[in-house]
Symmetry: C2
Subunit: 143 residues, 2 copies
């Protein structure tokens, strides 16, 4: 039985060693889990990206969020080129141990378009509207 599922009936406050659970995180066939970043105070969902075991370890060790870039096939220390970093505030796994939710403190825009959040194509009836503005020109962010 999945180790996370085996613990799900435990009460609030139940504790288990992190080291014991890490091998049971359900990385997919590419060795990745989705990781959602939420701004800790405003609660805005900023982005979703992917982590492999190494990115997760680095994130927990350094307190600075590190993803796995599927396009660049390498560790992606968020903000390494743009300066728009994510400080980790907390990290929570879901009931199945296959998705991560992080509370972060995001410097400036999380999105490569210069918008605060990557979620800006809003469905409104029969149209999609862009619902937020560019805070910093991407040309400035990645120059």
């Amino acid at each position: 039985m999945n180790r996370f599922k085996a613990l799900e009936t435990q009460a609030r406050g139940y504790q288990v060693a992190l080291e014991e659970m890490l091998p049971h995180i359900k990385f997919n066939e590419q060795g990745l889990v989705p990781a959602i970043a939420q701004q800790h105070d405003s609660k805005e969902v900023l982005m979703m990206a992917w982590m492999n075991r190494e990115a997760l370890d680095e994130t927990l060790r350094t307190g600075r969020v590190c993803y796995w870039s599927r396009s660049r096939r390498g560790l992606w220390r968020k903000g390494e080129s743009s300066g728009q970093i994510q400080q980790l505030k907390s990290l929570v796994l879901d009931c199945d141990g296959d998705t991560i939710l992080m509370q972060v403190d995001q410097t400036g825009p999380a999105c490569h378009t210069g918008r605060r959040s990557c979620f800006f194509y809003e469905v409104e009836g029969e149209v999609i509207s862009i619902n937020s503005e560019v805070l910093i020109d991407p040309g400035e962010l990645y120059k």
Copy 2:
């Protein structure tokens, strides 16, 4: 070029027909996209699950959230067995057109464990702690 990326430099308020964009959503090799559900008022992230094109269409058409269950290989009308449904408040796609964020109104617990949110295994230093309590016994939810 990805159709979503092609529009990313447009200003806030820019509109495009939904029908035009739907075929450009980047479903993965299994035909799925991750969909995050956030409680619209408290902003708590409740869960992440998957949608295929059909589940997305149904969600938009009915205003009640429908996922694709990977384990049951079928449409999963959230709450169909537990009664804990999700009313859709808004649906937003991300910059790459490969992830969905929904604001929902969740009846009772979103999690099959009877907890409000599926994210309850919180990393705290060297341990993982269960950070929330069971609201309704799962035996009651799925009887």
